[in-house]
Amino acid sequence: MENQIYKWINDPKHITEELLEGYVMAYADKVQLFGTHTIVRAQPKPEDQVAVVTLGGAGHEPALSGFVGKGMLDCSVVGDIFAAPGAPRLLEALKKFNRPAGILLVVLNHAGDVMSANMAKQMADAMNIKVKIMLTHEDISAGLDTPDQDRRGLAGCVPLYKIVGAAADAGKSLEEVYEIGERFNSQMATLAVAMKACTHPQSGVTIAELPLGEMEIGMGQHGEGGGGRSPLLSADETASKMIGPLMQKLQIQKGDKVLLYINGVGATTHMEMSIIFRKAGQVLQESGAELVDGKITELLTVQEQSGFQMILGKLDDDHVDYLKNHGSDAPYWTVNP
């Protein structure tokens, strides 16, 4: 384990503040800072529309703050590297977005995020702030039958932000936005794979080192191990090994409309991701499923880890509409229908 930092940073203590300052400077027409660690839209939406708020650690750029903007998130509350923001900071954001229409708080299932969200919600409830929590938990690496609370939330939150963000901006009520979002949330699944570990940007410590020539299916998005280690397989073999369980989980059938995203986590090239997509897409087509939304991109990264997350979602007509026909100007997700 080396403690050498190979990154262009300044003082490791100030990584999060500095990256957020750079981000809002670059996209000043779209996003701005509220306080030191909370990203909000530069043009807030009307108060009669539901606000969509999320929270999470830094070090996963462009997630999560890259998806704040018209048609997606209203607010992203940032913690520190790989660490959830504390409840007091989240409460400040909930107070800022307090409105009769209510707030949808999207939480990825990781212990720190869930504890902060629950504690902030208790405090918000006591102040009569209307908040509904939606928990994402689509990682299937722990097994297809693992209970929701034991499955992590991975990059599947990003298409969910697009769907609930579009529904909220279209004027749907909090109950309607929640229902539309939960229908997608329960019909998506993600698997992650890695072949080379990352280092923690603040400590330089290597996280869950992988021996050369091996890969691990089920890696978490902080580089933590997932259990499914094997010798390195080819792109086609890896893609097949991942798309199979995802399709099984969602019981994909002929005629189903599906979304397939390959989310690179840092060091894996778009070349490799495209080859992976090719095989996974072929398997989907052979099953008779209709691929209506595909992406080869970096949504949520894990520093210099090499690997990717494969996200599969089963879509109904509402989801297709909100994903494809509603505009978004978030810096990392632009849609111009």
Binding site: D80, H200, S203, V205, I207, G218, H222, E224, G227
Partner: protein
Amino acid sequence: MDVLTLEVFKQMINRAYTEVQAQETHFSALDAIAGDGDHGTAITEALAAVNDSAREGTEFNQMLTQMAMNAMTRSCGSTSTLIGGFFLGMGTAAKGVQLNVPQVKAMFRAGLASMQQNTQAKPGDKTLMDALVPAVTAMEAAEGDIKALFKAGAEAAANGAAATVEMQAAFGRARNLGERSIGHADPGASSWACMFGAFYNAIN
């Protein structure tokens, strides 16, 4: 020692901060085996915030609540919320400027109860609960004065943390590692055992 005064409690907090800080790198390295390698930093930052709030404390309830809010504001991640929940809980059960033996026992029990509202982890899961639950239980069962109570807590926490080496993680991120999680102490159990050891060292 028949009572725990506010001033002595502040010294215990300061000692806990100093001893945990001295092992910051060790706790982070333990966390890197199955987690994301930041536990040492997180617990040190949280205790630094708690220690700073001690300086302004004039009464147990107000000081413990302030410690909790300051820890959760200044540090991030689950460690911050767990420490915050613990001190918030302790604050609900402690008032005034000195506590007798039953009052100290009640304060630690309330801290644990508050944390258990935030996490489902239980002893045997290879988490900080493997140090904290035996510590609080031993403190409650201890006979004698304040010193005896903290001695029992420190020993139980240390034994609990040592026992996590042989455990397979059953909670949190490390759970996915299965058998590979065996062979190393849990970072949270280790840092909390260090804290309880420091509480006793401060008064011994």
